[in-house]
Amino acid sequence: MNPALPMLALSALGYLTAGAGIQHGIYLKSQKSFPRWRKVLWASFALHTFALIVYSGTSGHLPIASLKETFAPLAWFVMLLYLLLGERWSVEVTGAVAAPAAFAMTAFSVFALWQGHGTTEAGPGLYIHVLSLILGFASFFLASFCAILYFVQAKLLKRKQIDGIFRALPPLGTLDQVSYRLIWAGFPALVIGIASGLFIQGGQWHWGTQEIVVVATSIFYTIYLHARVAGWQGRKLNTILLVASVFAVLSFLLPGGHQ
């Protein structure tokens, strides 16, 4: 057994605990415990980082040999973005979903790696391809959650339900800003991922299901960015973001020809 696996499992438990803590805080309509859970998340994230380093050192490569394995670095990117955003914007509440999601992804990859890790003849091209796509998908995941929160918050404001969860949710303007910045970070990563994938395949583009969905994903994110730069905001823009997110999830999960 790779010595990194218990550490990964422990960090996953940390994510689960902190996620449950944040959810409990939302249930109690109190954000007082959020700073404490942030510390737990930072500690789990540090352990996660160390586990990935140990794994790479002992196995000779990052856990990117299969889709199941890539969930470990994906969870790492999700938490990295979440923690960095939380330092600047008050979006701790997104941890109620980001942390359990990071738990599920890390636990899933631990389970996959427990059964034996795959071998990969990883060249720099493959690393760039996989890691940039993982960064892109991590950004899209968090941005889509912000978009969902935008709709929830907008609905509460419309209905004038200004108590309970309304107080825990960030302002509409903040959610809009955060998702915009996440897409700004994720979109170039997606483009680099696609370009490096094309390069690995010798410049040949196969019109498989995954490739079509990837193209659709990038088109929707392009529309989003174009509209946002042109000054658009609000529900319509967030609807485009959610549609793009659905395609992003599909393109990540669909089996591609190069799996």
């Binding site: 109190s30 007082k32 918050q153 907008a154 404001l157 419309k158 004038k160 200004i162 108590d163 309304f166 960030p170 302002p171 509409l172 303007g173 903040t174 800003q177 042109a230 000054g231 658009w232 905001q233 609000g234 529900r235 319509k236 823009l237």
Partner: protein
């Protein structure tokens, strides 16, 4: 109000006399109120009073309170404060007694902590009182009216006030309609910097909200009124821009927050009108605040995408919910105040015990050093023997004083007053007796 059995000995330490919105109506409170200049004058006059050693005066629109440390007799101190409190008022003593509350010791300390934490305020948890307590303390310091007791008590009260606000939700949420409007605007837009505001009509409430929005950092203020000259006048005052009434729709395209407070008897902004404006806004949220009665904005405007409409009742509902949340926190704040009162009293006694212990040890140590000096002058005692004597005497002193030191601490923890602690030292001849007059 307070479990005071353990802290009765504080009774001679702090006294309080005052009235507030609970004991006196506004027409009485205004007669007893002190302007900042009068506070300074009064504190200067109180300095000459023999009955008091320290004094502070807290005078706000809802309360006038004297906190003082009596010289010897609590009654004499209270009488002096009552005299200063009533000034030129000719109310009979029985009437005065109904209006005034008089507390001493732990109850007075508890009262100050309740005041600073906002529990005793008209609007529970309001923040202004913390600044007012700080100002009262600074004024007392400037008038040289503070001493060891008030120098500890007031900073302690300020800490209790801050703790109550940070550990509970006692000060959370807007407590007025205009503040609620700003709070909602912040919940829609996040940062207020760079936001454009429009004031439609020149209602009093609108102006008040505008002031708060200015404070929150809004970018541009546009003022629209049927009478353009009046709009211009207000625009000049608040550094905004007057917009002709006919240009309302065009100006609205670039506005984030609109506050309507005209005296019009019908809707000024209809759903059709707002829908047309929204088409040019590229989905940017528009916050409409209708504080006019009768209303200026058609209620169905709130159905338009990205438009958030709140009228005066909606804002009042926000305030009511906030105040209910604050009231729900009072029990938690009360326990903070209670524990802070107990801690303050213990700390105060602890300090007095420490002072007494230092006096005790220093007294005996001077005896020890005198005796050692006696040996040092003798030539027959070598340096090594001197060192032995030094160590021996130190150890002996420590052993002898261990019992009395522990007893002094126990006495202090048991509630012995500083005077009682000093009395025990007087028996040993370590503290000089005061001459009787």
């Amino acid at each position: 109000m307070i479990r005071s059995e353990a802290i009765n000995p504080m009774d001679k330490t702090v006294v309080l006399i005052g009235l507030n919105h609970k004991t006196a109506p506004i027409e009485v409170r205004e007669r007893f109120s002190f302007s900042p200049e009068q506070v300074t004058e009064t504190l200067n006059a109180l300095q000459a009073e023999a009955a008091l050693t320290e004094c502070a005066l807290l005078s706000t629109c809802n309360r006038t309170e004297f906190y003082a440390v009596p010289q010897k007799s609590v009654e004499a101190g209270m009488d002096t404060l009552t005299r200063f409190m009533s000034r030129n008022d000719t109310l009979p003593p029985s009437e005065m007694d109904k209006l005034l509350y008089r507390h001493q010791g732990a109850v007075a300390i508890n009262h100050l902590f309740s005041v600073s934490s906002g529990l005793d305020s008209l609007v529970v948890g309001e923040n202004q009182i913390l600044g007012q307590v700080r100002r009262a303390f600074i004024q007392a310091q400037e008038a040289s009216c503070t001493g060891p007791v008030l120098e500890r008590l007031f900073p302690w009260a300020l800490r209790v006030g801050k703790r109550a606000r940070s550990e509970t939700d006692i000060a959370k949420g807007a407590s007025s309609v205009s503040a609620a409007a700003v709070e909602l605007a912040q919940k829609i837009f996040g940062e207020m910097k760079g936001r454009n505001v429009m004031l439609l009509g020149l209602g009093k409430m609108g102006k008040k909200s505008l002031k708060l929005l200015h404070k929150a950092g809004v970018n541009e203020v546009k003022i629209v009124n049927r009478t353009y000259e009046k709009a211009e006048e207000l625009a000049e005052q608040c550094g905004g821009t007057a917009v002709p009434y006919e240009m309302l729709d065009e100006a609205l395209v670039n506005v984030d927050i609109l506050m309507a407070s005209t005296g019009a008897p019908h809707y000024i902004l209809t759903k059709d009108r707002i829908s047309k404006v929204i088409r040019h806004r590229r989905g940017k949220p528009l916050f409409l605040i209708d504080i006019a009665v009768p209303r200026d904005i058609e209620p169905s405007c709130g159905d338009v995408d990205n438009v958030y409409l709140y009228n005066i009742d909606d804002l009042q509902a926000v305030v009511d919910k906030n105040l209910a949340r604050r009231h729900a926190e009072t029990q938690a704040v009360l326990s903070i105040v209670e524990s802070a009162t107990t801690d303050f009293c213990k700390d105060f006694h602890g300090r007095k015990a420490s002072e007494a212990i230092v006096t005790l040890r220093n007294g005996f140590d001077s005896f020890r050093r005198d005796e050692l000096e006696h040996f040092r002058t003798k030539k027959s005692v070598s340096a090594e023997e001197m060192q032995l004597l030094e160590n021996f005497s130190r150890r002996l002193l420590n052993k002898l004083l261990h019992g009395p030191t522990t007893k002094l601490r126990q006495l202090s923890e048991g509630g012995a007053t500083p005077d009682e602690l000093l009395d025990s030292l007087k028996l040993l001849g370590l503290v000089e007796e005061e001459d009787n007059p």
